[in-house]
């Protein structure tokens, strides 16, 4: 309830949420110790393959290198996250 009210009155976000958001963004860059060109190349290759099967929103495609807990929860493993909005799936499946 408190959250909804603060939204209506346009109350500024908690400073810790701002901190967390900023940190998450800066860490994406810190962790991806690969060049932006590398990510761009990866992105265009992924688009090339995936457009054979479906229409995707290329401008909204997000790709990032990050880390996540492994399945056993014991260690941290690198992970590649891709967020690919689909516009339409082709019928032929080719």
């Amino acid at each position: 309830m408190l959250l909804d009210l603060s939204k209506i009155f346009g109350k500024p976000k908690n400073s810790k949420d701002v901190a967390k958001e900023r940190l998450k963004l800066v860490l994406i860059h810190d962790r991806a110790n690969v060049s932006p060109q590398f990510l761009e190349m990866l992105k265009s290759e992924i688009i090339k393959v995936i457009t054979n099967y479906m229409d995707v929103d290329e401008s909204a495609l997000e790709i990032q290198l990050t880390r996540t807990k492994s399945d056993d929860g014991e260690s941290v493993v690198p992970a590649l996250y891709a967020n690919i909005p689909i516009k339409n799936i082709r019928n032929s499946g080719k």
């Binding site: 408190l2 400073s15 810790k16 940190l23 962790r31 941290v76």
Partner: protein
């Protein structure tokens, strides 16, 4: 079965030295023979935090250069049975020691001690490389601030690149009042970002300043909240499963009233 644990953080001033002093004292108090190594050559401080600054004869550089035997450089803490300090040199720099020398030193100390704690300098250069060279495990100290968490993340990456697996996180200077009003990242927020296991949460406590003034580790203070948190960390290092403190202080009248009227979301 001795363990070499490096206490590191990347960022300076987050409490590595205080943490090393308190955990080391706690381990010794629990009957484990423990040595603390200050690897911050040129900016040594573990000696003053421990209150042992007047007893230094030889230091880490003297040991690796062979000017003395390891045993001659170890300062025995007379207050705590089984606690020793190997101080850093103050008039040299980080290049006076090499990682291979640290590995050799740690192996030598393993024969004598149950726990070898290494106080790492800030930064990711030579001093850091020396500090982690002989370590089996790592404790990463951070505070709930963007700068400290960012640097901790970098350190975690470097530790894993150097094959020190599963570093554990110690969150220092936590302020429950600020977390409650949304002005400080919570334990969960920080764990969510760094994705590593937690070994302890130490509340912001004036008693740390007082105990550092006196050169007496806060872990010996029964009434200190930070001391209690460090006692829990020591038990976890020794393999005990200890629940995390909540630091919840007694709820005030207004808080209870607000809760009654559903004004507080949590």
């Amino acid at each position: 079965m001795s363990e070499v644990i490096v206490i590191t953080s990347g960022k300076g001033g987050v409490g590595k030295t205080t943490t090393t002093a308190n955990i080391g004292t706690g381990l010794a108090l629990s009957g484990k023979k423990t040595v603390l190594i200050d690897t911050d050559i040129g900016l040594r401080n573990l000696d003053v935090v421990m209150g042992l600054e007047n007893r230094i004869v030889y230091d880490l550089v003297d040991v690796v250069e062979g000017n003395c035997r390891v045993k001659q450089a170890l300062i025995k803490d007379k207050r705590f049975e089984g606690l020793y300090l190997l101080p850093a040199a103050q008039t040299r720099d980080k290049t006076a020691v090499a990682p291979q020398q640290m590995m050799k030193l740690c192996d030598e100390l393993r024969e004598e001690f149950d726990y070898i704690l290494i106080d790492c300098p800030a930064g990711i250069e030579q001093g850091f490389k020396n500090a982690i060279a002989g370590a089996d495990k790592a404790i990463v100290v951070t505070t709930p601030e963007v700068s400290a968490v960012r640097d901790a993340d970098r350190i975690i990456g470097l530790l894993e690149a150097n094959e020190i697996r599963n570093p554990k996180l110690l969150i220092n200077r936590m302020r429950v009042d600020m977390v409650k009003r949304g002005d400080m990242m919570s334990i969960d927020d920080i764990i969510d970002i760094l994705a590593i296991g937690l070994i302890g949460v130490v509340p912001d406590d004036e008693k740390i300043v007082v105990s550092t003034n006196r050169g007496e580790p806060a872990i010996t203070d029964e009434r200190s909240l930070a001391g209690q948190a460090y006692r829990n960390v020591v038990r976890r290092i020794k393999g005990e499963d200890v629940p995390f403190m909540t630091f919840d202080t007694e709820q005030g009248f207004m808080t209870k009233l607000k809760k009654l009227f559903g004004l507080k979301a949590n």
